[in-house]
């Protein structure tokens, strides 16, 4: 991963000192609550249901073993012993006292971590592909470009008080988007042009929340050296013209929609024309310096699909089943990337206690060059595991409860912290995830259902990405009671054309009804599917109608009665 220079370390430490002073001034009354709020948000601190929640950035999902151990230490010392991996490559602690937050930030700085701009109306932490650098389908490793923009956006003097939050993501594969780029305020699809040079197709105006929008391409083939200046131009247009009168209409997607994609792109181009090739243009030397931080680890020369692996696959069905879901192709022969599931019965999706964090550090050191990645699916990925070591890794992960063979299956849910923790939530989400896990624990059934994404959000802010789940569950408030709205058909594809927001199925359900409704939907899929057809493909082939009829039979009767 990128190693801080003395400069980077100094900047982070100065940020900690700045925040320590701000908290001190707030404590003695020189800063009001309202004045502190934006400052603490830009240091990752929300005031939540129980205590301030601290959101720590994990740039591009990368964590080194010593950082995992530092997170475990923070969980034990300042929190109640656990953290929660979010859907945007962050880890959140739910029980940090505001007075202690500067000390926690100082602990993070010691291991080259921070919570800078993980909240607030500013450029948030930049996310990318958890398989970056190892995925066979990628055109270029996106992480040096992410880091280029991370440094550009850190403490940006012009863009620290935008109309609303601003999220950026990078992907560099034409075949898959593992960062949901199209659902971001600003997204970069990196590719190589005909001459082999790295360029970006730039997407703007995507986002979830109250008004879900799949972003649109506003610029094709932007040479990489213009990433900072083009972003500056786009943010200046947004900063000046984005709505500030209504926070629900303040995201850039509303501006893009109001102007129209083409007119918005013209505005940005006009601004960019003043900046292009100016002093903010990135240099090849700087990119090369940043890329050193993401150089591949010293892989050994290993045989692809070694005998030890093949024997284990043949002899141990449990291992083979796990391997089929959790092990991913790698660009280096003899190596694989492995997803460890943080979706376990009895534990909230994405949660990891201090013991698990320490254990993950050990696994990373022994199996994957001391690093791992976190994914938007709230799992962790060991990206460089020798294939001959996969059986041993499986044994260890299984003992830790991290080898549930459900990656990509129904119970590999994305789930926000919901009403149990979050002050914004309309409804709890963790108990829904728990009920789904219990109802659908039969692995044979889950594997028969195959690839399916189930995403759960406790409110319309959509931290659980329900809009883009094949099945989405949204917590809503109806006269003070918690209800759950189901959407079908959301998906994240390799580009905007293959990304979709789900459609609402119908009236919402009480929590206790949700597992049965899911069972009805899944039964209908099984009845309708062609051989080998995925849930989303069946749904797109037959439409919402059959699912609606299955879930709301009484309404159909009402319609028939009305027609009669």
């Amino acid at each position: 991963m990128y190693r801080y220079t003395e400069f980077d370390q100094r900047m982070v430490e100065e940020r900690v000192a700045q925040f320590r002073d701000q908290v001190a001034r707030w404590q003695d009354g020189r800063l009001s609550d309202d004045e502190l709020r934006p400052l603490r948000l830009q240091n990752g601190l929300y005031v939540q249901r129980h205590a301030p929640m601290l959101r720590v950035a994990i740039p591009y999902g990368l964590l080194a073993a010593r950082q995992l151990r530092a997170l475990a230490h923070i969980a034990r010392t300042f929190d109640r012993g656990y953290g929660h991996f979010s859907t945007r490559q962050n880890i959140q602690f739910n029980w940090i006292a505001l007075e202690q937050a500067p000390e926690v930030l100082a602990e993070l700085a010691r291991v080259q971590m921070h919570a800078i701009q993980t909240s607030g109306n500013c450029v948030r932490n930049i996310t990318s592909d958890p398989l970056a650098g190892v995925a066979p389908d990628e055109a270029v490793d996106p992480r040096p470009y992410c880091e280029l923009l991370r440094q550009w956006s850190s403490f940006h003097p012009e863009f620290s008080f935008l109309p609303r939050k601003f999220k950026i993501a990078f992907s560099a594969s034409a075949r898959a988007d593992r960062a949901a780029v199209a659902m971001h305020d600003l997204g970069f699809y990196l590719r190589r042009d005909d001459a082999g040079a790295v360029v970006a197709d730039v997407l703007a105006g995507g986002g979830m929340g109250r008004t879900p929008v799949v972003g649109a391409i506003v610029r094709h083939g932007l040479p990489w050296r213009h990433l900072p200046t083009y972003t500056e131009a786009l943010l200046r247009v947004y900063n000046r013209y984005g709505r500030r009168d209504n926070m629900y209409k303040a995201r850039i997607k509303i501006l893009v929609r109001a102007l129209g994609v083409e007119a918005f792109a013209r505005e940005v181009d006009a601004e960019f024309s003043h900046l292009v090739d100016g002093p903010g243009t990135a240099s090849a030397a700087e990119l090369a310096r940043l890329a050193e931080g993401f150089a591949p680890p010293p892989h050994a020369a290993l045989a692809e699909q070694p005998a030890a692996l093949q024997e284990a696959l043949a002899a141990q069905p449990g291992f083979a089943r796990w391997h089929g879901r959790s092990v991913h192709a790698h660009r280096v022969p003899g190596y694989s990337a492995v997803t460890l599931s943080l979706k376990r019965n009895g534990i909230a999706p994405g949660d990891a206690d201090a013991g698990v964090l320490d254990a993950l550090a050990d696994l990373a050191e022994r199996y994957s060059f001391g690093e791992l990645r976190v994914s938007k699916e709230q799992n962790v990925v060991l990206a460089d595991v020798p294939q001959h070591a996969l059986p041993a890794l499986w044994h260890e992960a299984r003992a830790l409860g991290l080898a549930t063979p459900n990656i990509g299956l129904l119970t590999d849910m994305i789930c926000c912290p919901g009403g149990d923790f979050c002050a914004l939530a309309n409804a709890k989400s963790i108990p829904i995830a728990q009920a789904v896990t219990e109802r659908f624990e039969d692995l044979d059934y889950l594997h028969d259902l195959g690839d399916i994404t189930l995403n759960i959000s406790g409110c319309i802010n959509s931290c659980g990405h329900h809009h883009v789940g094949n099945i989405g569950i949204l917590g809503v408030d109806k006269q003070g009671a918690e209800f759950y709205q189901i959407t079908l058909g959301g998906k994240v594809g390799a580009d905007p054309a293959h990304t979709a927001v789900g459609a609402v199925l119908g009236r919402a359900f009480a929590a206790a009804e949700v597992p049965t409704v899911l069972a009805t939907i899944l039964d209908m899929y099984v009845a309708l599917r062609d051989p080998e057809e995925r849930f989303i493909d069946t749904l797109e082939r037959v439409g919402l109608g059959p699912f609606k009829s299955a879930v709301y039979p009484a309404q159909d009767h009402a319609v028939e009665a009305a027609d009669a």
Binding site: P157, E158, N239
Partner: protein, 181 residues
Amino acid sequence: MPENVTRILRIVDGRPQVAEDGWRVLDSAGEWEALSAAGAAAPQGVLLPLELALAQRERLGGALPAGVWLAPADDPARAVALFDRLQLIGVEFPKFTDGRGYSTAVLLRTRLGWRGELRALGDVLQDQLFALRRVGFDSFALRADRDPQEALQGFRVFSDTYQGSVDQPLPAFARRGGAAA
């Protein structure tokens, strides 16, 4: 201090300091009329709303030194026609969380050619001073309930910067030896 004088923060020879200042921010033509006739009690100068200044361009810089203040939604390009009659441009921050004034300042300094004094007005607080200076402000009308001497600390929070801006157009990487493009 006399009634017409307030304490502001100003960058002088690269150093932020507390300074006395007698400019008045006006909202209407009526106030301007009254102050123009005030004689010895007149302020050092008056900052006028953009629309008023545009409408009465010929009168600017008459009896009283004149400036213009820009609201967040004002297009700073419209002030260019007034530049030769202005001694000061103010940019208003109705709330410190309204970040439009930062872009206004960047445009005035890098695109529109304003070289004179540029002042942050309104909800101007210690914790925003570092960024305000970076985007080209060189005077700061701190909110009246704050201690200017204490607020000076706000200019010292960071010893360096990553990205270029008005104060330093080069990003950190371009200032490092050997890393320039």
